[in-house]
């Protein structure tokens, strides 16, 4: 199980680097990176803090600290995914409204131009 904790540490570091790289290249907006950065830091910290993880395992009645960490990762990532699903849904709604608005405004503008041309 020590190996699993080491793998989770490496995964945490990788996640942190990927998010930072994406931020640097403007692939992720800062406000959307906070959840991932927090998750990556928590993953690294917990996978390296044996006594904390052992105590948490006791609270959760789980025998292996690595399983406890995987369980916590699952909860955190479900939360992050849910948050992003909500953000995507809101963005989709806004995109639909915006698309309809643009189409209607273009239509009205075109009609106005046609009417003006007809007058001249």
């Amino acid at each position: 199980m020590e190996l699993l904790l080491d793998i989770l540490t490496v995964l945490g570091i990788l996640l942190l680097l990927i998010v930072l790289r994406s931020l640097r290249r403007d692939h992720i907006r800062v406000e959307h990176s906070v959840s991932w950065l927090a998750a990556a830091v928590a993953l690294i910290a917990l996978s390296r803090s044996g006594p904390v993880l052992v105590r948490l395992s006791g609270y959760l009645d789980l025998k292996e600290p690595a399983i406890t960490l995987l369980f916590l990762i699952l909860i955190v990532f479900l939360g992050v995914f849910y948050r992003f699903s909500r953000a995507i849904s809101e963005l989709k709604d806004m995109n639909i409204t915006l698309t309809q608005r643009v189409a209607i405004l273009e239509y009205k503008l075109q009609r106005q131009n046609e009417e003006q041309q007809a007058k001249h």
Binding site: T99, Q100, V102, A103, I104, E106, Y107, R111
Partner: protein, 241 residues
Amino acid sequence: MIDSRTLLIIPAFNEEGAIARVVTEVRQTYPELQILVTDDCSEDATVDQALIAGARVLQLPCHLGLGGCVQAGYKLAFEEGYDTVIRIDGDGQHDPKDIGRLLEKLRATGCEMVIGVRAKESGGLQTHPIRKIGIHFFRMLLRPILGRPVTDPTSGFVAVNAKALSVFSSSFPLEYPEIETLVVLQRRKFRFEEVPCRMRKRMAGRSSITAMKSVYYVIHVLLGVFINILRFDGRARKGQG
């Protein structure tokens, strides 16, 4: 019967093979009727064909799907002050000669929406077997919700009055709107009527709802209906409290 405050909207997505004939047929049958083709960002010559045939075109810059496309038409109609809107499909399945019968029913009954349903003499429901099962399933599901039977809840041939237009311009189901629309109407205690109509084969192209999509359609619409009922129950409980 058809005045300047009546608008026909034809939602279209990649219908270059049929749209011109549909618009021309409507213009020949009802020359005074204003026609608006709402184009859902087609990749073919739908817009050009509609314009050549004499329709006005509301062109969406992104593909939104049927619900978003129809709602764009409703929004424009609402903003422009129309008090009656008829919607027909852009594939030529609906016979424009029936438009008058829908409008007559809308005005005679004072209901908010009239649905053109496939008349038995025109062959009943001629559609893919899986979709047919879906339609029967939704007929059974909707009966207790609506408190009355509905013949074809998936029909896209509808006429609405100003009250329904006001609601639809602000709240309209986005992906497969027909069935959910009935539940939205029910939530507002609006009435709908049905008129038997002739239905024809598509003039060109293929239906976007394939056998696989029919399964997704059933699940999606079922969820939409369920959510609409939850919203209605929530509001009803708030009203009681």
